[in-house]
């Protein structure tokens, strides 16, 4: 590596994820990519475009539409000594493989008394915002974060899209990576030598003193755009969770202990969501630091409507974040 820092280059979240997969395939012969239309079609979100031509059909394997079988096969191959990356097209189809993920991937290590671990990575797209209506717009990463035995990552930045995969592949246990559909076209700078990042800690993307905005994945951008807050003299700290399991409780409590207020932004439905869990942990760990009850900005509890204005109304937005925070801060004149 040259002594000086290699110049950052313009790239996208999608490109960063493709580089991550490509790097893993080059570095470790045990790594292979398996999923619906990942080969000839180049990936439903074009993340794996060009990989079939470079690595061949043995390591870039298109699968039949049999989520339970190919996710189960991924688990078996991991048991058999491989390092599979299984791509489920979207979280919506992962429901068909829920049994394999919950009853096999997350549980075999425990049932076998520690004999068999499953070094498997499953990637899937999540979230709404592109008028795909109810069946194609779910945001269920919060569900998966309920399950002991697996880890849940939500990369929201280019560094994380580029750096999380390799660390996940080294993990001896199953890691699920949720990529929000609206992030693929996110542009930004990324140093050419960008590489693996840690996957067990949250990150403070914007320090602040008055309120902790806690969020992840597709809603991080919205939290960072809440400029009106600074216009109103409210100094918001934005915490990017990066991992929903394990949840980085220490960073959350540290932030809330300083700001004494918390607003959690979560695209999931409010009832039984990851935001509910975070709110409970803040209540348990920082009750005496709170100057106001924890607030949550979540999706409306409705199957995602098709019409644009309706979908917009259902989803958490910058203005909902600003209103919630302003209300919480009381009239600051």
């Amino acid at each position: 590596m040259s002594a000086d820092v290699t110049p950052p280059n313009r790239t996208t979240y999608r490109e960063a994820m493709r580089q991550a997969i490509r790097e893993a395939l080059l570095r470790d012969p045990r790594v292979f990519l398996m999923g619906e239309d990942v080969g000839r079609y180049g990936g439903c979100y074009a993340v794996s475009k060009g990989l079939l031509e470079e690595f061949g059909p043995e390591r870039i394997r298109d699968t039949p539409l049999s989520e339970s079988a190919f996710v189960g096969a991924g688990i078996g191959a991991a048991l058999g000594g491989m390092r599979p990356i299984v791509e489920i097209m979207t979280v919506n189809f992962s429901l068909l493989a829920l049994d394999q993920i919950v009853n096999n991937a997350a549980t075999i290590l425990h049932m076998s008394g520690g004999q068999f671990n499953i070094p498997l990575v499953i990637r899937m797209t999540t979230g709404a915002g592109r008028q795909l209506a109810a069946q194609h717009s779910h945001s269920l990463e919060g569900w998966y974060a309920h399950i002991p035995g697996i880890k849940i990552l939500t990369p929201a930045t280019l560094e994380d899209a580029r750096g999380m995969l390799w660390t996940a592949l080294q993990d001896p246990d199953p890691v699920l990576i949720f990529e929000h559909g609206t992030l693929y076209n996110l542009e930004g700078e990324l140093p050419a030598d960008a590489s693996a990042v840690a996957i067990d800690k949250a990150a403070v993307r914007r320090p602040g003193d008055d309120v902790s905005l806690i969020t992840y994945g597709g809603t991080l951008g919205k939290a960072l755009q809440a400029e009106e807050l600074s216009a109103k003299g409210i100094d918001a700290e934005v915490v990017d969770l990066r991992t929903l399991r394990p949840l980085d409780t220490a960073t959350i409590l540290n932030s809330v202990t300083r700001t004494h207020r918390a607003v959690i932004v979560d695209e999931g439905w409010r009832s039984g969501s990851i935001s509910a869990e975070i709110s409970a942990r803040i209540m348990e760990g920082a009750f005496y630091e709170l100057d106001a009850p924890v607030e949550r900005v979540c999706s409306a509890e409705v199957p995602m409507p098709y019409a644009k204005h309706m979908e917009e109304a259902a989803l958490p937005h910058v203005h909902t974040i600003v209103e919630t925070v302003s209300l919480m801060m009381g009239d600051r004149g």
């Binding site: 409780t249 220490a250 409590l253 540290n254 202990t257 942990r281 348990e284 760990g285 920082a286 009750f287 005496y288 630091e289």
Partner: protein
């Protein structure tokens, strides 16, 4: 009674398929049992002759209860019933009557699952130093019951104060008179429990001794925090406005010299006593300067208790009140003031003195400052400041002369009063000081 299913605790014999004297071998079905979920055949695991049926038809018994006895082949019948051996559904009787029945393991009473201790407590970050750990409910109770929180010991999690703690403190007999919680911010020095004697109480040995026990820096640090909190709150919440006027002190100082000349040192007055009395009398004339801003409204105070800002040599400031200055003669005010300063500096104060000042005076004249614009002590609504006495050129009645003067200033809460009323108040102080013998 065999365990016949994962969720079964007891069973009822529906049918006996054997009777005493019948020969049985391993695997034979000897009874039919109802397990609430199903009727199930019961097999025997020993070979021998049924000697006795113990549990009759229709009786519900828990798992492990002895149902019947089998005599192994060729053994003599055993007259007395052996100690129940709950191991096998049907106990095997060994030949020698005296021999204990086969060492039957105690049936596995469904052990209470070993209590996994509570998952490790979430790491609670230590409360910021000086921050009071008190539940919102307890805080509300403290306000209602007027409990001085600084003396309440928390029994809640991590020593937090709960409502029960507050209620207990409210009922405690000799608890110091209740202090509105806001006073918490202003009670930097551990309040003495010294009896509130009317006259100047001697400083009790216990109080001094208790004061010494607390390391000085600790005390200073605690005081600094409390002052910081109060001042920050005042600046944040009170829209201050400021007025100032220069007061001719000529007549007052001349009157004072004459007064002191006729008295031994123990009865002499300091000029600050005149300023305190003047302020108190002026406050009676402009009542909106004397009271509290609470719950969004001004509450006039019944009496005039003037808080006197007393600085401590090693830093820190307290403004305990001298009660009813407007009604007291100057010499009594002086005695109160001397005693107050002595007790402040000995760190021994009655909490009542700290809490209920209705207006405060700060005079930094001694430190050589001409003008002082103070910060109001919440929840009061006014603070009067006096600078040092300086000789100034003064024109009166067309004549020029040098006169001792003092800058009198007012910092007032614009929610409770307006500049016009503030001006009248300062003018009243000025006018009163021109008639020292009226004081």
């Amino acid at each position: 009674m065999p365990a016949l299913g994962a969720d079964m605790e007891a069973g009822t014999i529906l049918e006996w398929l054997v009777k005493p004297g019948d020969a049985v071998k391993r695997g034979d079905i000897i009874a039919v049992v109802d397990t609430e979920k199903a009727t199930v055949e019961v097999e025997v695991f020993d070979t021998g002759v049924i000697q006795e049926i113990i549990v009759p038809l229709g009786e519900k018994v828990p798992i492990g209860t002895l149902l019947a006895l089998i005599r192994s082949d060729g053994e003599a019948a055993v007259p007395s019933a052996p100690k129940p051996t709950p191991a096998a559904a049907v106990a095997k009787v060994t030949a020698a009557p005296t021999a204990a029945p086969p060492a039957a393991a105690k049936p596995l009473r469904p052990q209470a699952p070993p209590r996994a201790e509570r998952p490790a407590q979430l790491p609670t970050p230590p409360a910021a130093p000086g921050r009071l750990r008190i539940s919102p409910l307890a805080m509300r109770a403290a306000v209602e019951l007027k409990v001085d929180l600084s003396s309440v010991k928390g029994t809640g999690p991590h020593g937090a104060i709960t409502r029960a703690d507050v209620a207990r403190a409210a009922k405690a007999p000799k608890a110091p008179p209740p202090v509105p919680p806001t006073a918490v911010a202003r009670a930097p020095v551990p309040s003495a429990a010294a009896p509130a004697a009317a006259g100047a109480p001697e400083i009790s040995a216990a109080a001094t001794q208790r004061r010494a026990a607390i390391a000085p820096e600790e005390r200073r640090e605690a005081m600094r925090k409390v002052i910081a909190a109060a001042m920050a709150r005042s600046k944040r919440e009170i829209p201050h406005y400021y007025l100032g006027t220069r007061v001719n002190m000529g007549r007052a100082m001349t009157w004072l010299q004459a007064y002191n000349l006729q008295r031994p040192v123990t009865e002499r007055l300091l000029y600050s006593v005149l300023l305190l009395k003047a302020t108190a009398l002026a406050a009676r004339q402009v009542p909106e300067m004397n009271g509290f801003w609470v719950d969004g409204a001004f509450k006039p105070a019944g009496a005039v208790h003037v808080g006197v800002a007393i600085s401590l040599r090693q830093g820190g400031l307290i403004a305990p009140a001298i009660h009813d200055i407007d009604k007291k003669p100057l010499d009594e005010i002086m005695v109160n003031l001397r005693d107050l300063v002595k007790r402040v500096r000995a760190g021994v104060l009655r909490s009542s003195e700290i809490a209920d000042a209705t207006i405060t005076v700060t005079s930094l004249g001694e430190e050589g400052v001409e003008t002082v614009f103070g910060i109001i002590y919440p929840p009061q609504v006014a603070l009067v400041g006096f600078g040092k006495i300086t000789e100034q050129v003064w024109a009166a009645d067309g004549m020029l002369g040098a006169k001792p003067t003092v800058m009198a200033t007012l910092a007032a809460d614009h929610r409770a009063s307006d500049g016009h009323r503030g001006g009248l108040f300062l003018a009243a102080i000025d006018r009163i000081l021109q008639e020292p013998d009226e004081l």
